[in-house]
């Protein structure tokens, strides 16, 4: 679709004055940024996947050596899982609303719900860490606890980044309609769903291995 518009714009753009040209480019770059950012986020997702794959293989290697024990996962983790799954759902609704152009107010509500759920998840995770500390299980207590704190913390960190972006987007939505960055929003949706999937994977990993 864009190649035609692209060429037409570029052909006319030559004639346009400098200022007009820039605005012409806005449209051009608009479609471009739609396209490029979509592949960008997938590349990012791939990179994060690789890092956690590396941690996983490290875990398997470490499991082979001497002092591997067992770690009782705090129950609150399952609640957190539900929260994160729910947040994915609400964000999906928001995306749906937005693409159907039903005004951004409704969508913004769902975005707010999502980021609140995301925050709740982070709080819940820190709760899990506190529970473990209460049992006297710290980062360096045994390899299992090391891996648990490490993986959950890094994942929570990524979720926080997602929350930050959602805050920004919610602001944009509430502020005004025309400057909303749809491409960024779409990427955030991909990223957020990926965080949910990643967490489910991590939970299963911890259950089976730790």
């Amino acid at each position: 679709m864009s190649s035609t518009t692209l060429s037409s714009i570029s052909s006319q753009a030559g004639a346009l004055s400098k200022t007009r040209h820039v605005t012409a480019q806005n449209v051009l770059m608009a479609q471009r940024s739609e396209r490029y950012s979509s592949s960008g986020i997938w590349v990012g997702v791939f990179a994060i996947t690789m890092s956690f794959a590396a941690f996983t293989s490290a875990l398997f290697v470490r499991e082979g050596t001497g002092d591997w024990t067992h770690l009782a996962l705090p129950q609150v983790l399952y609640l957190n899982t539900l929260l994160l799954l729910a947040s994915s759902g609400t964000l999906e609704i928001a995306r749906h609303r937005l693409s159907k152009e039903e005004g951004t107010r409704k969508a913004s509500g769902w975005v707010l719900v999502t980021l609140l759920l995301g925050l709740a998840f982070c709080v819940g995770q820190s709760r899990a860490w506190l529970d473990l500390r209460a049992q006297g299980v710290f980062l360096a207590t045994n390899p299992n606890s090391s891996f648990f704190y490490l993986l959950t913390f890094l994942h929570a960190l990524h979720v926080c980044i997602g929350v930050a972006v959602l805050v920004y987007l919610a602001g944009r939505l509430l502020a005004s309609h025309t400057t909303f960055r749809l491409g960024l929003f779409r990427n955030t949706v991909v990223y957020w769903h990926f965080m949910t999937v990643l967490w489910v994977y991590l939970l299963l990993l911890c259950r089976m291995k730790l």
């Binding site: 679709m1 692209l6 570029s10 770059m29 479609q31 960008g40 590349v43 490290a58």
Partner: protein, 593 residues
């Protein structure tokens, strides 16, 4: 389309003010130059470190007063201590591998020319791009801090094998805070490189101008694209490795440190860790890193060779596929660094075969370059000299890989100077030749001024002959079993060969000094060089279709439309024996074939 109009425009207005223009600039060209400058600082630092090592090695009694002034503990009375030798060695390796060989051919030239060569106005994510440079810069600052802290730089080598690198103070001077700075620096560097790689991939996939199909991309762009794919994978693994290392050092975890280690009379409070884990993670990054260093130079050299041959390569496709398969294979061979580390001996064979297999695409590449030279009209200038020199270096460094790829031979040659000679030639010198060639070739475009040719040629001859004088003897000394990473040769049997070490040191001093000719040429030409035309080399790719230096938005008003493969040389074109990618004219092949 409707949604598209909701988009806030990505395009950036011409930057205003010094800060936005030259420091926190979003312009890929400025960022490219920043990477280049950083690499330049790093490479001269690393070179001087190597001088100090070489001098100390052959003249252990030599007193270097300025060094005592620089580090009182490192060189009491101006005499380098064993641990300071290792500090120099570690910093030399780290600076060269990360801040020179990764930055110069890939990040610097890639940032500057990838968008232009594919007809884009900028990188896909200009802000990420800026972040990636300043993250890398931060990594460099953190690493350099190791020189000034009282503890001194780490002594564990650039491979930082655990547990030596993981146990902290007891492992020796520099291992308390120096090593922590090292780990932190590399972790930060990983983040920067990941951002960069992400940007390169997204840009290549989505910002290509109309008509710029993947197969119409210049070989240099292809190389940067493949390299960014490798880098994305490699640094995504090194980052976790560094995080685990830092945790072992400061959080008391035991990922890499096994139980019952007694270091400096202290029983280490760790248990169950696996030193092999670090080696696996590190080399899973470490071997692809070799190709992160060399692939961009392959691309740059191909790009320049074609131009100076005035005829297309035998087959650009074959070159691209060879580079792809090298990139792919580079992930199946990391174990060949660990033949003697105590892996299951079976796995040694499993790793040896793909390693040997890499020689096939490498040979194909070499034959493509050689075969294309046949019947060409080679224009000799500084750029093409370095490009031809690259082929020679690549072969010389490559053949020694034959030996090291075989576990049985590794039993004898592992950790000898043979290995050092091998990777310095193929990974260090060869890819730097690519960088030199690229600099002489693209300098006019980047600055709008030509470099001084006669200085360039002088620089080539000194460097070309000099590097052979330095690194060929490495191989010979390796054959007689000269072990690497020794600050002096207490081994009785080394005595008759010290003459060769002196020769190498002198060669290193001369070759290193001749690099200052290059530095002078850079600075002089930047201000006093004669103005460069738009297309001084009669080249075909898009970067030569725009003014030198390019305007802030590269192509100004027009948006290039690509009609041809990148290398239409030896044809009857309106401008001469070439047709530019963006010129609509028909390609008429010249007489002959």
């Amino acid at each position: 389309m409707q949604e598209g109009s909701l988009e806030q425009a990505h395009v950036h207005a011409p930057p205003q003010g010094f800060i936005r223009k030259y420091i926190f600039s979003l312009d890929h060209k400025v960022i490219g130059k920043q990477y280049y400058a950083l690499a330049l600082v790093a490479v001269f630092t690393g070179m001087i470190l190597s001088w100090l090592m070489r001098i100390h090695m052959v003249w252990p009694e030599a007193k270097l007063p300025f060094l005592e002034w620089f580090s009182k503990n490192g060189a009491p009375g101006g005499i380098i201590t064993p641990e300071y030798y290792l500090s120099l060695l570690t910093m030399h390796g780290t600076l060269m591998v990360f801040f020179v060989l990764t930055n110069a051919p890939f990040a610097a030239f890639g940032n500057y020319f990838l968008p232009i060569q594919i007809g884009a106005e900028d990188m896909a994510f200009p802000r990420f791009n800026m972040m990636s440079f300043w993250t890398t810069f931060l990594a460099w600052v953190v690493l350099m801090l190791a020189f000034v802290i009282p503890d001194g730089p780490p002594i564990a080598g650039w491979t930082a094998y655990a547990p030596l690198s993981a146990v902290g103070r007891d492992a020796g001077p520099g291992m308390q805070w120096g090593a922590s700075l090292w780990g932190l620096s590399i972790a930060i560097f990983c983040v920067g490189s990941l951002l960069g790689a992400l940007n390169f991939i997204a840009t290549t996939l989505d910002l290509r101008a109309k008509g710029m199909t993947l197969m119409r991309m210049p070989l240099s762009s292809w190389a940067w694209f493949i390299t960014s794919c490798i880098a994305l994978l490699a640094f995504a693994v090194l980052l976790p490795a560094c995080i685990l290392l830092i945790l072992d050092r400061h959080a008391g975890t035991s990922f890499y440190i096994p139980a019952g280690l007694v270091i400096s009379d202290r029983l280490q409070p760790h248990s169950g860790g696996s030193p092999l884990l670090w080696q696996h993670l590190f080399w899973f990054f470490g071997h692809p890193e070799v190709y992160i260093a060399i692939l961009p130079s392959m691309g740059i050299v191909s790009h320049i060779l074609v131009n100076s041959m005035r005829k297309p390569l035998l087959s650009a496709r074959v070159v691209i596929y060879s580079m792809m398969s090298i990139g792919f294979l580079s992930y199946m061979v990391w174990g060949h660094h660990m033949f003697l580390s105590g892996m299951n001996p079976m796995s040694a064979l499993a790793f040896s075969f793909p390693t040997l297999t890499i020689t096939i695409p490498a040979t194909v590449l070499t034959l493509m370059w050689l075969g294309s030279l046949y019947g060409a009209k080679i224009q000799i200038n500084s750029a093409s000299l370095f490009a031809l020199g690259f082929i020679s270096m690549f072969v010389s460094g490559g053949v020694s890989g034959f030996f090291l790829a075989q576990p049985s031979i590794d039993i004898y040659l592992h950790a000898t100077y043979f290995v050092v000679g091998h990777f310095h030639m193929v990974m260090g010198v060869a890819s730097l030749f690519g960088v030199f060639a690229g600099t002489y070739f693209w300098f006019p475009k980047m600055t709008g001024r030509m470099m001084n040719e006669s200085l360039g040629k002088l620089h080539f001859w000194l460097t070309f002959v000099g590097t052979y004088c330095i690194f060929m003897p490495f191989h010979y000394l390796g054959l007689i079993g000269n072990v690497r990473r020794y600050q002096s040769f207490v081994d009785d049997f080394m005595a008759p060969y010290l003459g060769w070490h002196k020769f190498m040191t002198i060669a290193a001093l001369i070759t290193g000094a001749s690099q200052f000719i290059f530095l002078f040429n850079l600075i002089y030409s930047r201000f006093k060089g004669k103005p460069a035309p738009e297309n001084p080399w009669n080249a075909t790719s898009l970067e030569w279709s725009i003014p030198s230096p390019p305007p802030w938005n590269n192509f100004g008003a027009k948006h290039p439309i690509v009609y041809h493969d990148p290398y239409q040389y030896g044809v009857k074109g309106s401008k001469g024996d070439f047709v530019m990618q963006d010129s609509p004219e028909q390609v008429v092949s010249a007489s002959g074939d």
